[in-house]
Amino acid sequence: MSDARVSENAIVIERTFDAPVNLVWQLWTDPEHFKQWYGPTGFTIPVAEMDLQVGGKRLICMASPDGKMKMWTTGEFTEINPTSRLAYTESMSDENGNIMDMGGDYPTTTTVIVELTEEDGRTKMTMTHEGVPADSPGASGWNQAFEKLAEYAGTLQNNE
């Protein structure tokens, strides 16, 4: 179901979710939904601010299971085509959204591109994270997040 293709300077993950494309779009673009699945297993999202328009700002806080480690990222939406394509930039930042230089470990700005297509009520997603090496453990971080996304999409549909 998941497939991390090799591209030198990007993580590419393809995955099909048992959910309609409208719902998967919302899980990416509605902060309250985004908080429920983003981040590796056990991590939480205490803050997610999104101004959903091209040029609109994002500010996300990801916290480790006990909350001792907090990581802030900021960026802006660069493409919004409901419900087929979403792109945003991402940089490590402080809690006020001031971009932090990670000292060459990590490009200052990376780009996340999400492409969605619906097939028979299911959604095929291709997520490309440009600027992150394909062989980086970040790919498993993303895959853990998508496990959470799949599960959360399932609970939302069962409650309907």
Partner: protein, 115 residues
């Protein structure tokens, strides 16, 4: 004394990096493998390994020796030294607060005298 100074150099140098402070914060919650530490950062394995080496050299983390699964654990002893070093300046603040207390009392007394 000189050896203590060298150790502090290593500790402060290791702490002078946001990624490494985040790794320590994560390990304060419990042991983790190098891969687990790297997952939230979306950073290459060599880059994260480099940070772990710096932390290890400063004695802040210990990496297990089992071949496949080599979890990292935090060792807080060097942080205690940092804390002790900081404590020697504590009295400066305490003296300043004492002076501030005296000055506030003085101001209040003057106000009463003027009434």
């Amino acid at each position: 004394m000189e050896r203590d100074d060298k150790r502090l150099d290593l500790t402060f140098a290791a702490l002078a990096n946001s990624t490494r402070r985040k790794i320590l914060a994560r390990l304060a919650e419990g042991e983790a493998t190098v891969n687990e530490l790297a997952e939230p950062f979306k950073m290459s394995l060599p880059a994260i390994s480099k940070h772990i080496k710096v932390l290890e050299r400063a004695g802040l983390i210990i990496q297990g020796q089992k071949a496949q699964y080599r979890p990292c654990t935090i060792d807080v002893a060097p942080l205690k030294e940092v804390s002790d070093w900081t404590q020697q300046y504590r009295h400066i603040w305490e003296e300043r607060f004492d002076k501030m207390d005296n000055y506030l009392n003085q101001l209040q007394n003057e106000e009463q005298d003027n009434e």
